[in-house]
Symmetry: D2
Subunit: 394 residues, 4 copies
């Protein structure tokens, strides 16, 4: 049961880099952070255009002098203030994540960062070490993993309801970019530009969402090797792919397949995860997040619904319903659930607890999870660049 009265002694003083006017993702960051009054928006470098950024921030109630022209200035100036920000969210194009997150950690800030954290595993490991050294929390916005039914799935798998896991289907395959829409859409343009997007488009943009949903549901599987085939059906996107298939061999003998696409014409999202065990399977679809399909061999198919009494009742991640069952919740609730966890973890560090990047008793998508996404893409690209051979996962 969601406790709406939960609050911190002091909300966390919070700023943003990017996510200003016209951003697709900025609003959901703000909405999620502010929803439970656990963060206060105090500062921002919202926009590369200083004036526009200030106007934007002021509209959101930020003092004009705390609307900064860039993140460096913000980190420097805020550090001088007794009431300076304690945490920052990074909602900028991919190629800037590494340097901003690094700077944030160096400035002693907790951070919430869009994926990918960076472009190479080397960078990722550097960031993990830095977070550890600085004793700071980094949350990564794998936003769908805040959904309750994902955690019901995780728990059922953990309890052995499926038996040993054999097969994982991962899919995030939309069709919005079936044609070269980037010609007229800057928000898409940078995603298909290697210098801005990194070594991958759809694997990084949507594929790692599906990957991490699977990792959330089945945390104990380790990838042993994989092979990846990438295509650029809109040719101008090469070398970045707009479609990719990945086959995965896990260390316990299980196998996985992942389909990431932006050219699955006519499809809205089609982010679906299916976990097949020796006794039963589980399937979850982000477009209808309140349901979980459970198929036990030899039994009728079951559809589980969010907010019902038959779900695990001792698990906060499953019962944090902001509204009763039947009333549809969506992506915003999922994100808000994550930001609530980020806040709780950050607050404990602020109050002196030591973190080793993760926290034993608060699950959240952490910097190691973010690093894993970077590693996955790196391995996929390595396979793909060698004519899609199998590569050992490194």
């Amino acid at each position: 049961m969601f406790n709406e009265e939960f609050h911190l002694e002091q909300p966390i003083r919070w700023g943003m880099v990017g996510g200003g006017r016209g951003s697709q993702i900025g609003y959901i960051h703000r909405n999620s952070a502010l929803r439970d009054r656990l963060f206060t928006l105090c500062a921002g470098a919202f926009d590369v255009n200083e004036e526009r950024g200030r106007e934007f921030g002021v509209n959101w109630g930020v003092a004009p002098e705390r609307c900064y022209p860039d993140y460096k200035t913000m980190f420097a100036e805020e550090a001088k203030r007794p009431d300076g920000i304690q945490a920052v969210s990074i909602a900028t194009p991919n190629f800037t994540h590494y340097e901003i997150l690094k700077a944030a950690l160096e400035a002693g800030l907790h951070a919430i960062c869009e994926k990918p954290l960076c472009f190479t595993t080397e960078q990722a490991e550097e960031l993990v070490s830095l977070a550890k050294k600085q004793n700071r929390i980094v949350g990564v916005t794998y936003g769908y993993t805040g959904a309750q039914m994902v955690h019901q799935a995780r728990r059922m798998i953990q309890e052995g309801v499926l038996g040993e896991i054999r097969i994982i289907n991962m899919q995030f395959a939309h069709g919005y970019h079936s044609s070269a829409v980037e010609a007229n859409d800057p928000g898409t343009k940078w995603r298909v530009t290697p210098e801005k997007a990194g070594p991958s488009y759809v694997l990084g943009d949507v594929g790692t969402h599906a990957l991490f949903l699977a990792e959330t549901m089945v945390p104990n599987l380790k990838i042993e090797k994989l092979m990846c085939a990438r295509q650029s059906f809109v040719k101008s996107r090469a070398p970045l792919e707009d479609n990719a298939f990945v086959l995965i061999q896990y260390d316990n003998g299980a196998v996985g397949n992942l389909w990431a696409s932006c050219v699955n014409a006519g499809s809205t999202h089609q982010q679906k995860i299916r976990v097949v065990g020796e006794k039963a399977s589980i399937e979850w679809w982000d477009e209808h997040p309140n349901q979980l399909i459970f198929e036990e061999q030899g039994r009728p198919v079951q559809i589980l619904d969010r907010g019902q009494g038959y779900l695990y009742q001792d698990d906060e991640a499953i019962t944090c319903d902001r509204m009763g069952g039947g009333h549809a919740e969506g992506l915003f609730e999922s994100w808000a659930n994550l930001y609530r966890r980020f806040a709780t973890a950050m607050d404990r560090v602020i109050h002196g607890e030591s973190s080793n990047v993760v926290m034993d008793d608060i699950w959240f998508p952490n910097i190691r999870d973010g690093a894993e996404g970077v590693r996955f893409i790196e391995n996929c690209v390595r396979s793909s660049d060698q004519d899609s051979v199998w590569v050992n996962y490194t």
Copy 2:
């Protein structure tokens, strides 16, 4: 396209009656009001227990001295303050709505009220007159009518895509109260107690939601006569019904049928509206609110999805996506869309505009809509009490 930067010069100073700890509905009021920073929670009479109410309010950031023991005190004290509340939301059990709303209007407050507004049409008309006289906005929380696809349906019907309307199926038939759960659940107990709930249980509790969804989609139909059959399958609930069927004759020759139930065993919500025209039909289901089914005779069935370019793009109610298509939105967004409309209407009156209860250019569930729900129940009960005869709608 949702404009997250939209704001009022001054957020509306806002208070609440009821909706404190343990309330099912209080949180969604707060969340919706505060989400777009158009209201500020300044005061409250959250609880019949003064101490608990104060603690609750303080946790939500309300000054302790503005956490009042009851609504009368709140209205009186706030009226004395230069920064007193301008609007109030009423989230108390049914039997108190009339007196509180009346007092609020008399105190010169704008109001947002749970349905039913009151128990009789006479009271409802009194409230409408009072709102008119006081030039105050009253919003009614028919929360599902903020959903974009409902307005896409409304617009398609308005544009004649369905042809003349012939049949309307209305249904809100859940199964949560298939057995006498009220024995251990105070939140259900008052709903089956006539003095607290009024002359009806499920017709008022869920039936009017379905009714008003239909009225929102097809605003021009007028009920000419109806007949209603009510049952109390859990016998101790008599005279209040836990299941009801209503047949409706509209003035243009169209017919409607409504099924309201809390004993539809195993069902989560099953709030579904289907509007059948001479050329096509439309169907919407609250558990999957991002989709709208459109069935044109002689054509493939179509499933429309929220946030897509093929929806009416010139209609703010349809395009107020807080997140792109594919990302599930839910009941919270629907409510927030309504509160945004309430705020806009209230702000215009605050700035001197004269309202005649409704506003020509801002659709929202208004006091007349609320009064219509009361009238509907009254007519249903009148029919039901005469062995379910047809009654002229008065």
Copy 3:
């Protein structure tokens, strides 16, 4: 498990009245009767046009001299032959059923008859008495009731899985006749012509299918009273209705509602039956007949699938799968299951067993079930003709 080797010592010698070239329903009669080699098509009065009827029959392998110009001649001539027909199927327009069925019984034939058997309860009772007196089997082609999942539902209800039954939703509401298609379609024309169709269009044409599905699932309920509202949205159809709502009060306190329509624009069939009990509900849809939805209050929704081991395995009506689970079966299998039952019952009478219209150990839609459909329509029309008042079921 379906036994494909099952056969009678001698297949039943069988003829048809109607169902010739251009008939919508003739083929499924033939296909169902012949499928399991339990009937042999020996004779027919297939068509009002003698020549066309003979050509048709010959194409189906009937000897030309046994292709008759009309049913009277057929019954008379076949009676003279030592190898004359033993059973006849009647697939003619409604207004002829009574006289043909009566003649068939008088000629000592077993019969399979399309519904409605006749137009009045008085006629129906006469036919029941005649069948009894003649010791002949009459099967009625409520074709959907041969579907296995309908019998799984029947059995679950019988076993008390749902608890006491409270509510039955019955619906068969298609949209094929949303406009006046009968202008160019003789097959529809007679259905909206009172002299040919009887006192009702959609109630008789589709409504009784839904009614009898419900009666099959819940055989012990008796209608106490009902009310019916009929509309002719295509005005030229008056006094016959193209849409109707019926509310039903059963003797045990349960209630039912039935929607029959041919103007449910854009809908293909929408024949759905939902039975709500105090503990659980069951729902079946004819367009996806291999599935049964089972919703137990407080448990996940279950989808049962035809041909699975978790269904009742001791019940032939449930396990008569012609193909394993997963492989879709459809209406043809449902009809064939019924014809198989008709054949078995007829064969037993042929071999000397005495029937009292029904057979204790072989369920099939019998003449009493057919009479019940006539009675239902009669009661509906009686209500409707008195401004839709409630009428006691007589």
Copy 4:
């Protein structure tokens, strides 16, 4: 529109090898062949047990002397009769197909054969040559390809509705054999025994069904290379796989992925084909074969339904409805549609037409299609046996 009066001057005299008592597949062969009276069952070698085979045949109306102990005797004896069989269906375990089909062709018989035709491409090519030389028709029972909506998809793709094809998802992944059920089930036992089943289990058993459905929908694509990963989750099945993933590169740049499984726990069939083009996608699911999902980028999702006027009306494969739209058809109708095509092709050869294995104007799954399935498996195994490398398709 299905013409039920269609018949051949003389039904084809037909026999069966295998498919006797206890066979899963024998009944659907018989039912499909006999349904439209285009074949007459004259002879059979139904069973390895002579006595049981004769009893079975006699029950099906075959003369006892034409119930043979084995196929060799049948082919020899029938050849001596003036009324000997003209065609034979082969419904025996996989390892016997090659020799029986070869013998049938050598005996001058037309044949209908279960897949796989044989175990090696070399054998398959030999059979193709033999069929050609003997001028005989061989139909292969890819039974789902008789479904009308599959042909609607084929036609839409042919007409360019999807634009250039980019991606094909093929899947037939059930869960019936999640555990080692073969221990007690002879019908499964031979399928996991290499000598009886050939070099593959699920790829051959279910995978080629999905492959050929895709080939039917998109006939012009050629496989250039593929890679295949096979698993034996039930270890005793090794070297035969119970799960496999295949990635396919087509010659035009399109890609395909295929998932074949019998350990997809809890799944009934999950045979789904999705074809993604540059403009739109199409999806078909064998468990709900009357529907076809059509998703055009930027348009609402469409669900097409069998038997509707908006389907291609000039295409017999699409309009061969045995019953109107809305009435569910299933696998039996799909098979019967194929047998009707087999009969038509065979009859034309019987009447002197020369066939080059296929017929220009009658589409049916022919011996080349069967050979393609064998080739596919061979390539998959070759890849799989080299640690799942990519192999050029040979």
